[in-house]
Symmetry: C2
Subunit: 366 residues, 2 copies
């Protein structure tokens, strides 16, 4: 392992993360839950959404934009739908509570759907969708996010990277999980290129003047991410459309902010004035597989689907077709064994945070 | 209007289409419904999915792959979920019945979700999703389709263009409708390029050897469509993932066929041997907006969303940002006034069909 990395075992990193959340004033259960969501990202290899974000949550709490002791309330309800007010709590805590409610409704009525307002970033969507899979349900989770993406034909940041996640139980295989930003490239990929001083492909970013950019710093300089599809010819209106769906389900339906009014994740940027809603929003849902056919039959066919796609003819001999969610499952097994590599800037930020909050750092290797 | 087009008024074209379905043996109500779905496509400007497909349905019926008098049955049910067996009926008839059931469940419980197996092509997804909007519900409709799309890293057709549609009610604006193939380009765009002897952009199609193709005939020659995103660098794994979600909801969950086993729409190709399911599949759903907040408040905010996005800074002065569903709404108003233009090959196919079934053709202009 290069000296640009420190490797930390899962459990000490989890204990450190929990302790940081407790230092913020989170109740023990909430600290445990929030740490579990962040660790799930690190274990799955979604490094941008794991403990790398821990300082960000602390900074928002310090600015009083995150409430460590939220009174999470169900403010609207039918047998299978509800709206939850997260009381400015951590999305890492609010979203799992919302998913619990969706699953309770699904247990009783077959499906359950919960819109969440007045929340904050909820980590990886897959964490929330996968909760449902454990009970043989199909899980769904989306969230809106700070505006970084320009709609097709615009040069204004009006949408977040607004991820969509669907998770399905399988039989012999790990769950099939589609968890994707609706932008052409996620912000994390730009950060990796920037750290490595590499250029990025055309089709990811426009510069502030609206011209195609291959410099990864163009986004921070005021540029914008492009929707999935990159340009109109290649279907960017579809990426824009999907991102709009996420924004409407998460923000317009719940009473959260939407579009350019979604509050920024970074504490040094202030939220927009005169917002039309409260905080940012999520939308989660669960459907019992056995609301449609037996779970056993479904899983037999999912396994058949996966086997067929794994055996698809390849474009390049050494590159098999990837089953959505399988690389993240393999990465989880590997990192549980070998530990979680943290790049130097992330480790350094955790050192600062630990010193500030007097939380002892986990031991590292590498 | 060029002589390559005939213009037909809506009502005579509708009457012709109904009569063709009645000639197939469809009950009157079913013929009316099926014609309504096809006409909606023509009115909205989705010419590839309107009466252009009418001969295709007739040919499938002649091959006994469409049952004109289906016994559509609910075969599995919870309060908010169900599976419907379409008995090999027209998807144009089966899917609206399924949406009726989803909406009945939503009226009672807040949401309703119906998987459909043993069906055929259902026309445009927007027709089905928009039914829900009329009752202030959010509509959802997806379908799998004949395999034409290769997953990322494969050169095998394993997925259809598998569209996704979400429709939301608005206040002063028309409904916001995202209705999109999950491929980079829809088949219809290739047909238009082929008729005009034009090349297509890279990123839409691979040739049978898996190389990038700019000849629109490459698909018919055994090539494959690319998922939304076009290549891995630009996120084609996301298009592949979305298409997989559609395939699993439509096929694996319902008991229909999925992946490469989805039966072809064209009658001259036989279905795959030893299929794992029955016919092709759809999945539709409805959620009451007032399951989350009042419909009035929601619509006020949707209008605010739309106004904000309409006024987004433009990349090109003369090209405003498009609100999903608005061009199709405008086209509907125009074609209801001015008639529906049918290209010469479509008109010619309708002439043949009319002669064969002794259904008098509608009057035309142009």
């Amino acid at each position: 392992m290069s000296s640009n990395y420190r490797v930390v075992a899962e459990e000490p990193l989890r204990a450190f993360t929990e302790q940081v959340f407790r230092s913020m004033g989170c109740p023990d259960d909430d600290a445990t839950l929030a740490a579990d969501v962040l660790l799930a990202a690190d274990l799955r290899g979604i490094d941008s959404h794991g403990v790398a974000r821990l300082p960000g949550y602390v900074r928002l709490w310090q600015r009083q934009r995150i409430n460590a002791i939220p009174n999470i309330k169900t403010v609207w309800e039918t047998p299978t739908t509800a709206t939850i007010d997260g009381d400015a709590g951590l999305g890492l805590v609010v979203a799992p509570r919302a998913m619990d409610l969706a699953m309770a409704k699904a247990r009783e009525y077959g499906s359950g759907w919960v819109a969440i307002r007045n929340s904050n970033h909820f980590g990886i969507a897959a964490y929330h969708a996968l909760k449902a899979v454990g009970e043989d349900m199909i899980g769904f989770a989306v969230t809106n996010a700070s505006p970084l993406v320009a709609p097709t034909f615009s040069r204004e940041r009006l949408l977040g990277t607004n991820p969509i996640c669907y998770a399905f139980p399988a039989g012999d295989y790990p769950p099939l999980v589609v968890d994707m930003a609706t932008s052409a490239a996620a912000n994390g990929k730009l950060e990796i290129a920037e750290r490595a001083s590499q250029s990025i492909p055309e089709g990811w970013v426009l510069d502030p003047q609206g011209a195609s950019a291959t410099d990864p710093s163009a986004l921070k300089a005021g540029g914008m991410l492009l929707p999935l599809g990159s340009d109109y010819t290649h279907g960017s209106h579809k990426g824009y459309g999907l991102s709009s769906v996420v924004d409407i389900l998460s923000g317009v339906l719940s009473g959260a902010n939407y579009g350019p009014w979604v509050p920024p994740f970074v504490a040094f940027l202030d939220p927009a004035p005169n917002p039309p809603g409260e905080g940012l929003g999520h939308f989660v849902g669960a459907m019992r597989v056995d609301g449609f056919r037996t779970a056993e039959t479904f899983k037999t066919h999912i396994d058949n689907w996966i086997t067929r796609f794994k055996n698809a003819e390849r474009l390049h001999e050494n590159q098999p077709v990837i089953i959505p969610g399988e690389p993240e499952h393999q990465m989880t097994l590997k990192r549980k064994r070998e530990g979680i590599p943290l790049v130097a800037p992330v480790w350094s930020a955790l050192e600062t945070l630990g010193a500030e909050l007097t939380v002892p750092l986990p031991p590292t290797a590498g």
